[in-house]
Every structure is written in C-alpha cells, then in structure tokens.
Symmetry: C2
C-alpha cells in the first residue's frame, strides 16, 4: 500500500499539519523538524500527492510538457500551440525533450510529484515508469496509452491509416510499403499500422512494414530507407507514418532512379504547417494540432479541478491532396 501523509507524520512524530508545512515550505520550521520529516518521507518512499498539495492550494502556475523532441515539426508545432494557449490562461511551461529516455522522463515526472509543476501534458511514454501508476495525477497524454486512469487525446489514427492506404490502392498501387513507428511504444499511432494491414488484407494484398524510430539520427534513417529501396525494387507506393520520413524518401528515390509519383506513389502523415509550406506537393494526413492542444488543456483543467473526464478523446483527421499520390 502507498504510504500516506499520516504515515509520514507518525514516523516523524509530528502532526499532519507540520508535514504539510514542510512540503509547502510554509511558516516557521526548525531544521530539526524539516530533517525529521524528510527522513520519514525517504524511509517510506513517500511521494507528496495532489491532496497534500491542495491542502494549501499552493499552485506553481507551471505546466510541464514532456515530448520526445521539438525538432520534429509535429511536436514543435504542438508544443508551440500548447505554450501559447497555456500562457493565455496564466501558465508558464517547462519543457522536457525526453527522447524516449526513461530516466529523464522519470525525473520530470518526479518534479510533478514534488509540487514543482501543477500538471503535465505528456506525449512520450516509456513503459514501466512506476510513478504513472499513482492515482488521480493531473496528467493528460497525447497519443500515448499510459494507464487506465490517464486520459488520452489523439487524432483518429485508424481512419488516417485507412484513408492513406485506400488512396494508394485507388490510384492503382498493389505493392504498398508502410513505414511505421517502433512497435515497442504503446501508442495509438500504431492504429495507423493496423488500418494499413486491415485495408491491405481486404484487397488480398501483402502488408510490408519497415519500422523506424523517429528519434534516431537522420543518417540511420537514411540507411534504413536505402536498404528498403534495395530490398524492394518493385515497390509501387509508400505510406509513411510521418512527413519527415516521407521527405527523406523523396530525396533518396532519385538515387534509385525512381520518380515520384510516376514510379512510386507517396503519402505522409502529420501535415504540419511547416511541411505543407516547404513540401506542398506531399500528399499527407493532417492531424488537427489546434484541436489537439485545446482539448488537452481543457481536459487537464478538468483533472486539476478533480472533474470527471473521458478516458479517450478522438479528433478528426483530414487529407492534404498534394501531387505525390
């Protein structure tokens, strides 16, 4: 059983109010008392919970954002929207680029648990981080399945995967390859892959997936895609689960004397403003960054006010009709 404020008070031989005052750094406290309370918390592995925080309604007005990297345009634009909207509500944001590093993610999470931020919006998830298992944390996940209790905001990944695959089939492609994210991440984005596989099966076509972690260096991605072109000389179409990979593939295709869309049809995913501007020709599935960020903040506010929320919010995707497919 999780240790409670009560247990800390008993072990430290002080009142509950004193423990709260230590946690919230309020009122006069002797160093001896502070040390006793911290010793007890350490012995019990006690993490201050939201109730303890709310006892004094001590707010930092800071929201933590944990995403893999802002250098990916999708996360960059999402973080920017979140920051802009949270700022208008009086919040500042702490940003952690976790690069799917469990230690770093744990560290940022402990910050929440020790009252340095009011809430978290998380777009990354390393499995088996114990701290997420605490109840009722003011956390909202974007595109990540964390646990039973943490609400998820996502766009309609299954529909997006279906639209993309169907478009390539409608345009006559049969040998269609899907570039997917790594399958060790437990994310709704995997539904793009499910939709691809289901749609291929419906037409009796063989699904072929290459998995690429979006956090690896560009040169490693290039190596994987070069290998793909070598292994699949009769490739007719590619559905890439992000636009950056699609852009890299467009460049590499030339080296293999493949023209897009004449020889290979291509469709991407994400449809950020950046990519739609510098690669307007790339057909892609647009995720609604504006709606995702608004909904995430709305649901986080509900959690902060201990209101009921749904478990999952699915927002609509749209098609950007470029010329690559």
């Amino acid at each position: 059983m999780k240790p409670k404020l009560d247990d800390v008070a008993k072990l430290a031989n002080v009142s509950k109010t004193t423990v709260s005052r230590v946690l919230n750094k309020r009122g006069y406290l002797s160093q001896e008392t502070i040390d006793k309370v911290y010793d007890a918390m350490e012995k019990l592995n006690y993490q201050p919970n939201t109730v303890a925080r709310q006892l004094y309604n001590k707010k930092t007005q800071i929201i933590g954002l944990i995403f893999p990297t802002v250098t990916n345009p999708f996360f960059g634009e999402l973080v920017e929207e979140l920051e802009k909207k949270l700022y208008l509500q009086g919040y500042k944001v702490i940003i952690g680029n976790s690069m799917n590093d469990p230690e770093k993610e744990t560290n940022y999470l402990n910050q929440l648990l020790s009252n340095q931020v009011d809430g978290l919006i998380v777009g990354t998830h390393n499995r088996n981080i114990q701290q997420y298992k605490n109840d009722n944390l003011p956390i909202v996940a974007i595109d990540q399945i964390m646990n039973e209790d943490i609400p998820i905001i996502e766009s309609d990944n299954y529909l997006g995967g279906q639209i993309a695959t169907q478009r390539l089939i409608d345009k006559g492609a049969r040998k269609i390859i899907h570039i997917a994210g790594p399958d060790y991440l437990n994310t709704p984005a995997q539904r793009r892959r499910n939709a691809y596989e289901d749609t291929m099966e419906k037409y009796n076509l063989e699904p072929i997936c290459y998995t690429v972690d979006f956090n690896i260096p560009y040169k490693d991605k290039i190596q994987i895609f070069n290998r793909m072109f070598e292994e699949q000389p009769d490739i007719e179409a590619i559905f890439s689960s992000n636009d950056l990979d699609a852009a890299i593939i467009m460049k590499l295709a030339k080296n293999f004397n493949k023209k897009i869309p004449e020889d290979i049809l291509l469709i991407g995913y994400d449809g950020t403003q950046l990519m739609r501007t510098i690669f307007p020709e790339l057909t892609t599935i647009i995720q609604p960054i504006n709606q995702i960020s608004s909904k995430a903040i709305e649901v986080l506010n509900d959690r902060l006010e201990s209101k009921e929320t749904l478990k999952e919010y699915i927002l609509p995707v749209t098609l950007w009709e470029g010329s690559t497919s």
Copy 2:
C-alpha cells in the same frame, strides 16, 4: 534612481532582514508584515535584485528560454540543445515563444526578476523593454543586442554573409537579391545584410533587399516572394537569410518557370540538421548550434557566479555545398 531594499524597509517601517524574508518566503511572518512590505514594494516599483536573491541563495534550478518560436527549425534545434545540456547540469527549462510580442517578453522577464527562474537565455528582443536595463541580470543573449551589460553569443554573421554573396558572384551571378530579416530588430544577424551590401559594392553591383519577418504566417511570406519574382524578372541569384524562406522560394520558382540552379542560383542560411536532411541540395551557411548552446550556458553560469564575461562571443560558420549554387 532605482529603489533599493533599504528604501522598501524604511517605507514599510521594518528591518532589511524582514524584507528579505518576505521576498524569499522564509521564516514566520504575520500577514500584516507581508502586506506592508508588498505595499511598499509596489509604491516604489521595487524589483527584487539578484543580491536580494543571493542573500539566501534561493535557487529554483530553472532557466527561462525566450525565443520567437520553436517551429522555426533553427530555434527548435537550438532550444533542444540548450534543454539537453542544461538538464545535464541539473536545470529545468521554462520556454516562452515570444513571437516578438513585447508584452509576453516582459512577462517572462518579470518572472526572472521575481525569483521564479535563476537565469534567462534570450533569443528575441523587443526594443525598449525597461527591465533589461537593470544591472547584472543573469541573462545571456543569442544573436541579440540588448544593452551594454548583457553578453551576446552569435555566429560570425558578417563572414557568413560574405561567403554567401561571394559564392554567388564567383558562380557568375550579377543581379543578386538578398532576403533579409526585419530591420527594426536590433540583431547581429543584420551583419549578414551588411556583408551582402559591402560585397556587392566591392564589385560595383546594386544591392536589392526584400525584408521578411520570419514570424509572419507562411501565406504572407509566399505573397512577398511572389511579388519579388514579378518585380525582378531578370533575377540571377538569391541569398536568403534563412533556409525556410529559401525552401519556399525553391517551390515558388517553378510557378515562374525558373529552374534552380540553371536560371537562379540560391543560397540559404542556418543549415539545421532538419533542412540539411530534407533539402540536402540547398547550399547554405551552417550556424554552429552545438557551440552556440554550449557557450551560452557557460557564459550564463559565469554570470550566475558573478564572474566577469566578455561582451560578445563570435563562433565560426561553415559552408554546406549543395547543388542550388
């Protein structure tokens, strides 16, 4: 004259120690005392200074980063590098995307002055923000001239502008247009423009500049570039002061039946990893993001420890030889 802690103490009719305790929320204080001190600070427009903060050595271990937008790949990669390196030194980062909005920038700055962050790294500057005029603030500027006292980290903008312009001239272009940032911003990046103008003059060529604010929506940029193509039908080369604009120009050139590099030579600026990967053909000047971020943190640490620093640190640029010029 700036009000001092002393003045606050006198007006509030309390000791200096009491004012410090109020500022640092230390020890037992009656609500009456707290109110008196805050009233006096307000009347005097007193801003707690670094000395008051250091009195109790109260550190937040948070560094604020204020940049125009992380959706521009240069700032995105720079912010990511800063966050990664600061994290390793035990700091968290608060990020503000100021979009050159003076009100928002002032708000973030007041956060520093009221002890919510230990220091700031600023890559944006709206003129006439009063707060920057305080002495000895733990602030470091990247590519921005703020005031006499705040050290600047930058790459060699003049050399970059010179290399770019010289390359276009060496390749035979005479009618060379420069796309510059807005001239109301007081930034060392304007030296790229100076170098362009000096180099053109050296060859008796007429400099032609179009200024584009990088914070405006993409559709407004497209409008400016379309107008440029209409007004300059005999254009032979373009030196764009950032790669995003260069990428947009590459797309638009096709609409005017101009081939790059056959009809128009093109060179960009920044050379982020993202752009070098998805537009490897774009010749550009690489800013050393890794070195800029390391130096900024080193100098900020010096400021935090009240060590002397230089006024300006200039880091080397390099040329990325693509095929667009």
